[in-house]
Symmetry: C2
């Protein structure tokens, strides 16, 4: 908060599978307050969605509520049909659904996007994308975006609209391999300190796997330990480098990116840095993520949908509007 009188306009919820973030936003999309809970849609408190909402907005002024992410999925609070590609801010804002909480709040829900050509879907990332396009309007005309995470999204934007995307399950694959296979033997549940050298070694191994792909080198994370050539404590970062490197190798092989087109990272800063480091092994450039994309994306969608009464300075939106 700053010293001037704030005018709360919107409560934005970034509500995913494993976490809930709530933003109180003012009339120009600035964040007045933020709260985080571990109440992803798979780990709700007693009382479910209603109780989680009431808690996370407690004490905040009344106002429209807009939620993005898995909260609108099958298994969420209410399923909102996907919007098909190509799709921009206007199409998404027109396709909001809503659910009314037991305490009488109307929660508007952002639809995800669907790629019918490649049978792929996203929920929540579309909101971060619209926020990033507003923060960095130069991206709207033509850009390649990468949102790393449990399910990484590789996104192509043209004229403010998402025209193509693909999912790589890198984060979830890492967790499954790290915690539920032989590769985790000798390691506790907590990760050891970061080992940059092991991470780069994994990324280079993936790069050098060529068309065979890094899955064929997965067992090296165990065999190198047995051979005394890799410390057990270095396995998590070697594996992380191998899988992130494979994501990059695969995207290059698919023609999804090329070394001439910089890629804009969006999302969690430490994870994005990890991708940027791996990218150096491939001589790829990646721009580090802008801060606040999710909150501003919610604000943008709410504004276009008419949920807020504010008008935004043109310089922040005109390039992002389809």
């Amino acid at each position: 908060m700053n010293g001037s009188t704030p005018h709360p306009q919107l409560i934005g919820l970034d509500w995913g599978a494993i976490s809930l973030r709530a933003y109180l936003l003012d009339e120009d999309g600035s964040v007045l307050d933020m709260r985080a809970r571990h109440w992803g849609i798979r780990h709700l408190p007693d009382g479910g969605f209603d109780a989680a909402l009431d808690d996370v907005v407690a004490g905040w002024p009344d106002g429209p509520v807009l939620a993005s992410g898995m909260v609108g999925s099958r298994g969420g609070w209410r399923e909102v049909p996907y919007v098909d590609l190509p799709s921009g801010l206007t199409a998404v804002a027109r396709a909001l659904s809503h659910v009314d909480s037991a305490s009488g709040r109307r929660v508007h829900l952002v639809p995800g996007l669907r790629n019918t050509v490649a049978a792929d879907v996203m929920r929540g990332e579309e909101t971060e994308i619209f926020g990033a396009l507003a923060l960095q309007p130069v991206l709207a005309a033509r850009s390649a975006l990468l949102l790393p995470g449990t399910h990484s999204k590789w996104v192509n934007v043209r004229d403010g609209r998402v025209v193509d995307f693909a999912t790589a399950m890198t984060g979830e694959l890492y967790a499954a391999l790290r915690h539920h296979t032989i590769l985790g033997i000798g390691l506790g549940d907590e990760d050891p300190p970061v080992d940059h050298e092991a991470f780069l070694r994994g990324a280079v191994t993936a790069r050098d796997s060529g068309a065979a792909g890094a899955l064929s080198r997965l067992f090296s994370a165990r065999a190198l330990v047995l051979a005394g050539q890799l410390d057990t404590q270095a396995v998590p970062d070697y594996l992380s480098g191998l899988l992130i490197g494979e994501e990059l190798r695969s995207a290059l092989a698919a023609g999804r990116i090329d070394s001439a087109t910089p890629l804009q990272l969006i999302g969690n800063a430490p994870l994005c840095r990890r991708y940027a480091v791996a990218a150096t092994c491939f001589e790829l450039g990646m721009a580090l993520p802008p801060q606040g994309a999710a909150a501003l994306g919610l604000w943008q969608i709410a504004r276009v949908a008419g949920l807020t009464s504010a008008s935004l300075p043109q310089s922040r939106v005109n390039r992002a509007m389809p």
Copy 2:
């Protein structure tokens, strides 16, 4: 057993990570009796290795005991150093180690093989390979072998010796993805009935992923369900086809196999059939596995190591000897 008087010569143990199989073998390597337990080295009964051994051989005549597999690994009964490639029956038989049980039985242990060029290892599969070479001597001169499983082994044999091999963690990867990621949502722990069509669809998806690789298509196992284009009950076989198909695609891309060289399968018959079916999508030929390779491999190693007094008819061994 047949009607003539058997002459037990060897107790052979195929002792892996998740199971223990014991064979009572006669003077020409035939199996007189077989017992199976779920006592892999990670799931031993009270009393550990000693108790498991005493139980599984109870009532059998005294005689030399030879064990292959993870029982000789770090974390096994006693670690036996690997034998480096290239390596054949003689080199392995010369490198046996042993441990004496509390009940006074000496258990000889078969070493695994190590590929120092590619940092890879196997334990147990070398014994199946020597058994298969004895069963099908034509394979000894020059062949490509595939032992599918938790950790699939792709093996090249020249002049009776293993000259190269590589591991694909396909089975363990399948289990981790099936049971510990979003791909298993809506499924119980038990697998639904086999869906051949879904399996082939997965294999073709992997084939058509090209140099990008099937990891980039992994999320399709979820997105197709959300799009109503794949039944939830079909996910396990779609995933199985995708991962086995990726193993084949990768091996072709690496030049490990080519469509002109038939591949000999060794191991579990239903799993081998699955690979043979996937191979048809790649126009690859695969020969189904011979029965009894593990037991005969133990017998062959024991004979060359001088643990048994029997002599084998020359026709069964001369091509398999390095």
